[in-house]
């Protein structure tokens, strides 16, 4: 006796296949949605901002008049911020990753560090801003300086760098270690001469991506009091400063329509900077991706 009515199954099949095809199109449209939004966003910003984008825009300070406004101070501030953030976050992040991957024993303390890092990655950036404002700006009396901003940003992107560096270290084949130990090398010698050189492309890729996050981040720096109207360049890490996203935020908040166009021009510069950093990261990744 047949429990399955084959003719019925066959009759239903057409409808099921049709349903599958229609849903496939819907899923495709959903995927396209994100891409369309991205395209519209880029088109809007480039078509509005391009007119304000000239040499003067890059070399002028902020101004009360839209046509005289520039982003010289913001670019300088963002670069200064990187001077502080890049070394601190890379040293701390890579150090943490080496500790976790090479030295840490599998115990409660290590698990706690791991859990802590994955939770830090989910803490909203404003909370880091509160930390920076309280500890660096007030408690350590750094004021509204590049240093305070850079330290805050370093802590913010630390989890990203740790995870990237961990992955880079983990991807090194075990035989590389064995080869080094078999020649009588110590642990530290192996880490310094085998692990780090092999992991550096991965670390750099992850590090650049993390720094590009820091370049685009606004809220924590707003909170530690990076200024939005700076008519001078920072002289050292104790100077007050502004950065690109804050300058853009400031222009966005102005009621005059012209300032929105200036903001678009600023966004173009910000996006180009991010594009540049991401391209470098991808180049490094591709150049070194197939070594083992």
């Amino acid at each position: 006796m047949n429990l399955v009515d084959k003719q019925l199954v066959q009759r239903r099949m057409n409808r099921r296949i049709l349903k599958s095809r229609i849903m496939r199109q819907l899923f495709f449209l959903a995927t396209a949605f994100g891409i369309v939004v991205l395209a519209v966003l880029l088109y809007r910003i480039f078509s509005e901002g391009i007119a304000y984008l000239d040499w003067e825009f890059l070399t002028s300070f902020a101004s009360r008049f839209p046509e005289e406004s520039g982003i010289k101070a913001a670019i300088a501030g963002s670069l200064w911020l990187m001077v502080v953030t890049a070394p601190i976050s890379l040293i701390l992040g890579v150090g943490t990753a080496i500790y976790l991957e090479e030295y840490a024993r599998e115990n409660k303390f290590t698990r706690f560090i791991r859990m802590n890092i994955s939770n830090l990655a989910g803490v909203p950036s404003v909370v880091f801003g509160l930390l920076g404002l309280t500890v660096f700006v007030r408690l350590m009396e750094m004021g509204r300086s590049v240093m305070a901003g850079g330290l805050t940003m370093s802590l913010l992107i630390l989890p990203i760098i740790v995870v990237a560096a961990q992955e880079a270290i983990r991807s090194i084949p075990k035989d590389q270690y064995e080869a080094s130990y078999a020649m009588g090398a110590t642990k530290w010698q192996t880490v310094r001469r085998v692990v780090l050189p092999a992991a550096i492309p991965g670390i750099l890729t992850g590090g650049i991506l993390a720094l590009s996050r820091a370049i685009g981040e606004t809220a924590p720096l707003l909170m530690i009091g990076a200024l939005s109207f700076v008519a001078y360049l920072p002289e050292n890490i104790w100077s007050s400063f502004t950065v690109l996203p804050i300058q853009i935020f400031n222009w966005t908040g102005r009621p005059q329509e012209e300032f929105h166009l200036v903001a678009s021009a600023g966004i173009i510069i910000l996006l180009l900077a991010l594009l540049l950093m991401n391209s470098i990261a991808v180049l490094i990744r591709n150049k070194f991706s197939k070594r083992y």
Binding site: L3, V4, K6, Q7, L8, V9, Q10, R12, I17
Partner: protein, 273 residues
């Protein structure tokens, strides 16, 4: 390339009776070639697979036997770069004809894979997956299907008290029999088996082999195996594949006792492979 004939459909559904007289052909394969990208994996395969018999496909690894069996239900097309020529007819219908839907083909032709691949669902849900997907909603019928299929796969007595437990809790051999039950649940005409015992222990292997013997009463079975003893034990006909070609296709007794081709003899006597 032959096209599908409409008149054939009616006869599909009443062929469960074992044929007493001469054997009917269920699959006929003609001049079948297959490429993965630019690498040719099958060359001019010419074969007829009989109904209600066990057909074994043997050969060394990489000889194309797995590719061949996966062509029979077009699973091979999941590899994006695959290209084919020649024809495969299932019940005298060209399986590559645009009119013949691949889902229909796979409803009629079940498959058991090399590694047990139950769904991460309960035993019950695994068995009713096919019937439910094909539109059978009635609980009483589903229950009946579950019992019948699990009995058919010789698994019922072991799992009847824990049908709602996750299938991943079963042993490898039980999982494989569950996959056979899942395949029986939609009452296919053909069961394709792609090295179904290669991941199993000897005891489970014996159980599956016994099962194949019982199943051939109702189903046509094609089984890929790299275990020659297994082929000799359970099959009626055996095809020997080498480097993508069918070297010899014969009754199993004949092929193992008195092969026509020197290469077959070399292989079954263990000179290579």
């Amino acid at each position: 390339m032959a096209t599908a004939t409409k008149t054939q459909q009616i006869s599909i559904f009443n062929t469960n009776e074992p044929d007493k007289g001469k054997t009917k052909t269920i699959y006929s394969i003609e001049n079948f070639n297959l490429w993965y990208g630019t690498d040719q994996a099958l060359y001019e395969v010419q074969m007829e697979i009989p109904e209600n018999k066990v057909t074994a496909i043997i050969g060394p690894s990489g000889c194309g036997k797995s590719t061949f069996i996966k062509s029979l239900n077009r699973m091979v097309e999941l590899v994006p770069s695959v290209k084919m020529s020649g024809s495969i007819e299932y019940k005298e219908k060209d399986i590559f004809s645009p009119k013949y839907k691949v889902e229909d083909l796979r409803t009629d032709v079940g498959m058991v894979f090399q590694n047990p691949n139950p769904f991460p669902k309960s035993i019950y849900e695994n068995v009713v997956y096919g019937p439910k997907t094909h539109g059978i909603k009635k609980k009483s019928i589903l229950n009946e299907i579950v019992e019948k299929s699990l009995r058919g796969a010789a698994l019922w007595d072991e799992v009847k008290d824990r049908l709602n437990e996750n299938a991943f809790g079963l042993s490898g051999g039980q999982q494989q029999r569950l996959c056979i039950a899942r395949c029986l649940a939609i009452e296919p005409d053909v069961i394709l088996m792609d090295e179904p015992t290669s991941a199993l222990d000897p005891i489970s292997t014996t159980k599956i082999e016994e099962l194949v013997q019982t199943l051939k009463k109702d189903y046509s079975i094609a089984i890929v195996t790299h275990n020659m003893q297994q082929a000799a034990r359970i099959s009626d006909k055996t095809a020997f594949f080498l480097n993508g070609e069918v070297i010899e296709y014969n009754n199993t007794d004949k092929l193992f006792s008195n092969p026509d081709d020197k290469r077959t003899e070399d292989y079954i006597t263990g000179r290579f492979g």
